[in-house]
C-alpha cells in the first residue's frame, strides 16, 4: 500500500475496492454449514446407492423392468472380464466394474467394487439403512438452505446471473478461461464466475430436487400417496434410471468441483468454506 494515499483521498469517499491479497467475507454460515452437511450426506448417499445398485445392476425405461425385460444399461461380468453394456455398446471394464479383485485377492463380479460402496461388502439391507438415514440429512437441511438463502438473498445476490453474464460471448470467454486454467484474481475473484453460478444453480435447483423426487418415485408407499410422481417420470423404472443418471452427474460435478478447489488454491478455498473468510488471489504479473 502507498503510505501517502489516505491523505490525498477525501474523507467521505467510499473505501477502495478490494484487491488481490485482501481478506473478504465470502460465505455466510448457512452456506458453510449446508456445504459440509452435504459433503457428508452426498458422499454416503452415493456410495450406499452404488451398493443398492449392485443388488440389481440393470436399468430400464418404463413402468416395469426385471431380468426378462430389456435393460438399457447393465454392469456385469464373469470370471474372465467385466463390462458395461449401454444399448448396443459393450464397454470393457475389467478390473474396475463387473470384474475386480477384493482385498483378499479374490475376483468379484459385482458391478461396483467394494472400495466404492457402503457397506463395503454386499449388504443390501445395510445400504438401505444408510441411504434412508442420510436421505433425511440431504432433504431437511436442503429445504432449510433454500428457505434461508431466499430470505438472506444469497440466491439473488450471489447466484443469480446478470444479463451481461448470460451473454454467449461472456460464457464462451469464461469457458476458455477455465480451459486455460486462468482464474480470476483481485476484486473479480470475490464473486462467483458464470460457470460457477450456473453449475451451483443446476445442483441446487435441478439435480438435488431430481434426486429427491426420483427417489420418492421408487417408494411403493409414496406412489400410492403421490401418484403424480409416476406421471412426472413416466414410471418407476424410468425414475430409477433417472436417479442413477443424476447421481452420476452429481459425481461429475463433485469431481470437477474438487479439481477446481485444488487448482484455485485448496487451503484458501477450504478455509473460506470453514471460516467464511477468503483471501482474494493476487493478480499475476505478466
Amino acid at each position: 500500500m502507498e503510505p501517502d494515499a489516505p491523505d490525498e483521498a477525501p474523507a467521505d469517499e467510499p473505501p477502495p475496492p478490494p484487491a488481490g491479497g485482501d481478506v473478504v467475507y465470502r460465505h455466510r454460515w448457512p452456506t458453510r454449514l449446508w456445504h459440509w452437511l452435504n459433503a457428508l450426506s452426498v458422499f454416503v448417499l452415493l456410495m450406499s446407492g452404488l451398493m443398492i445398485f449392485n443388488a440389481h445392476p440393470r436399468l430400464y425405461w418404463g413402468k416395469y423392468g426385471a431380468n426378462p425385460d430389456y435393460a438399457w444399461l447393465q454392469i456385469g461380468g464373469d470370471a474372465q472380464r467385466g463390462h458395461v453394456l449401454i444399448g448396443p455398446l459393450d464397454i470393457p471394464t475389467t478390473g474396475m466394474l463387473g470384474h475386480w479383485t477384493d482385498s483378499n485377492g479374490e475376483i468379484q463380479t459385482r458391478a461396483f467394487p467394494s472400495w466404492a460402496t457402503i457397506p463395503s461388502g454386499y449388504n443390501l439391507a445395510g445400504a438401505r439403512s444408510w441411504h434412508f438415514l442420510f436421505a433425511w440429512l440431504l432433504f431437511v437441511p436442503g429445504l432449510l438452505f433454500w428457505a434461508i438463502s431466499l430470505l438472506n438473498r444469497h440466491f439473488r445476490r450471489d447466484l443469480a446471473p446478470t444479463k451481461e453474464e448470460l451473454a454467449p460471448r461472456h460464457i464462451w470467454r469464461d469457458i476458455k478461461d477455465h480451459a486455460r486454467l486462468r482464474f480470476p484474481a483481485g476484486e473479480e475473484a470475490r464473486d462467483y464466475n458464470i460457470l460457477q453460478k450456473l453449475s451451483y444453480l443446476a445442483v441446487i435447483f435441478l439435480l438435488l430436487p431430481l434426486m429427491v423426487l426420483t427417489g420418492l418415485s421408487m417408494s411403493p408407499g409414496m406412489d400410492a400417496g403421490w401418484p403424480w410422481l409416476l406421471d412426472l417420470f413416466a414410471g418407476r423404472q424410468s425414475a430409477r434410471s433417472i436417479h442413477f443418471i443424476v447421481a452420476m452427474l452429481l459425481l461429475g460435478f463433485i469431481l470437477v468441483h474438487l479439481l477446481m478447489v485444488v487448482l484455485a488454491g485448496p487451503i484458501n478455498e477450504i478455509r473460506s468454506m470453514i471460516t467464511g473468510r477468503y483471501v482474494l488471489p493476487r493478480e499475476k504479473r505478466p
Binding site: R58, P68, I118, W130, G221, R240
Partner: protein, 252 residues
C-alpha cells in the same frame, strides 16, 4: 469370522486409503448407529403415513401394462413334505387357519376362499433389489376374513405363516392393521387370470401393494392376529427382518 475378515480388510485398506470406508463399516455395525438408523426408519414410516392417506390406493394399471414375463423370486418351491402332499392333491385337503386374537378362529378350504367375494387388481410388484413387474392378482380382501373371524380389541398386527423356509427357518411376515384393512390388501389365489402358480406362492399369497416384494408372503398357511411381534420368529416381524436386517416397514 466376519470380524476377523474385516479387521484384515481394515489393515489392508489402511495402506490404500480405504480407512474411511472400513470406518463406515465399523460405524454401520455399532449398536448406537443402528439405533439411529432404525430411528430414521420409524421417521420415514411416520412421514409416509402422514402424507399418504391410509386408504390411498397403489396405482393400478391396464392389461396393456402387464409384464410379458413375471419372474419368480425367493422360494419357488417349498421344501416341506406336507406342502408337496398338498400340491399333489391339488390342495384339496389344504386349509387356511385364521387364529390368534380373534373371537371366532376360522379354518377355510381353498374352495371356500374362492367362493368369497374377490378383488382383481393389476399392480406393480417392486423387489427390494430394484426391479419391478406388473401382474394381475385376484383374491379375497383380507378385511373380509378378519371381519369374519372377529378381530379382538388387543390385536395390533397380522402375521402370515408360510409353508416355505430358508435353511429350515420358516418364512413369515407381518403387517399392521392399517395395511391389513387396506382395500388392496388381498390373499390372492389367482394371477394373470389363471390359478396362482407354485412359483408365485400357490395356493395363496399376500398382496400388499404399498410395500416391497419381501412383505408379500407366499404359500400362506396361517393368518394369526397378535398384539406384539416380540414372540414371533426372532421378534422383528419377518424372516428377512430377523435374519438380514431388512426394514419391517417396506413402503420405501
Amino acid at each position: 469370522m466376519t470380524d476377523r475378515l474385516t479387521r484384515r480388510q481394515a489393515l489392508v485398506s489402511l495402506g490404500t486409503g480405504g480407512l474411511l470406508l472400513s470406518g463406515c463399516d465399523r460405524i454401520g455395525r455399532s449398536p448406537a448407529f443402528q439405533s439411529v438408523q432404525s430411528g430414521a426408519e420409524r421417521l420415514t414410516m411416520r412421514a409416509q403415513r402422514l402424507v399418504i392417506d391410509r386408504t390411498a390406493l397403489a396405482p393400478e394399471f391396464s392389461a396393456a401394462d402387464l409384464s410379458p414375463v413375471f419372474r419368480t423370486n425367493g422360494n419357488a418351491m417349498p421344501a416341506s413334505p406336507a406342502y408337496r402332499t398338498h400340491l399333489e392333491s391339488g390342495f384339496a385337503h389344504w386349509r387356511l387357519a385364521i387364529d390368534g386374537l380373534v373371537s371366532r378362529p376360522l379354518s377355510l378350504s381353498l374352495a371356500q376362499i374362492r367362493r368369497l367375494p374377490a378383488r382383481t387388481q393389476i399392480t406393480r410388484h417392486d423387489c427390494v433389489e430394484g426391479w419391478s413387474a406388473i401382474g394381475k392378482w385376484t383374491g379375497v380382501p383380507l378385511k373380509l376374513l378378519l371381519d369374519g373371524a372377529g378381530l379382538r380389541r388387543e390385536a395390533r398386527y397380522i402375521v402370515f405363516h408360510c409353508a416355505d423356509d430358508f435353511s429350515g427357518m420358516p418364512y413369515y411376515e407381518s403387517i399392521d392393521l392399517i395395511d391389513a384393512f387396506h382395500p388392496q390388501t388381498i390373499l390372492a389365489w389367482g394371477m394373470n387370470d389363471r390359478v396362482l402358480p407354485v412359483g408365485h406362492g400357490a395356493p395363496l399369497r399376500l398382496r400388499l401393494e404399498r410395500q416391497l416384494g419381501y412383505k408379500q408372503a407366499k404359500f400362506v398357511m396361517r393368518v394369526e392376529a397378535v398384539d406384539s411381534l416380540d414372540r414371533i420368529g426372532l421378534g422383528k416381524g419377518g424372516f428377512w427382518e430377523d435374519n438380514s436386517g431388512y426394514q419391517w416397514y417396506a413402503g420405501i
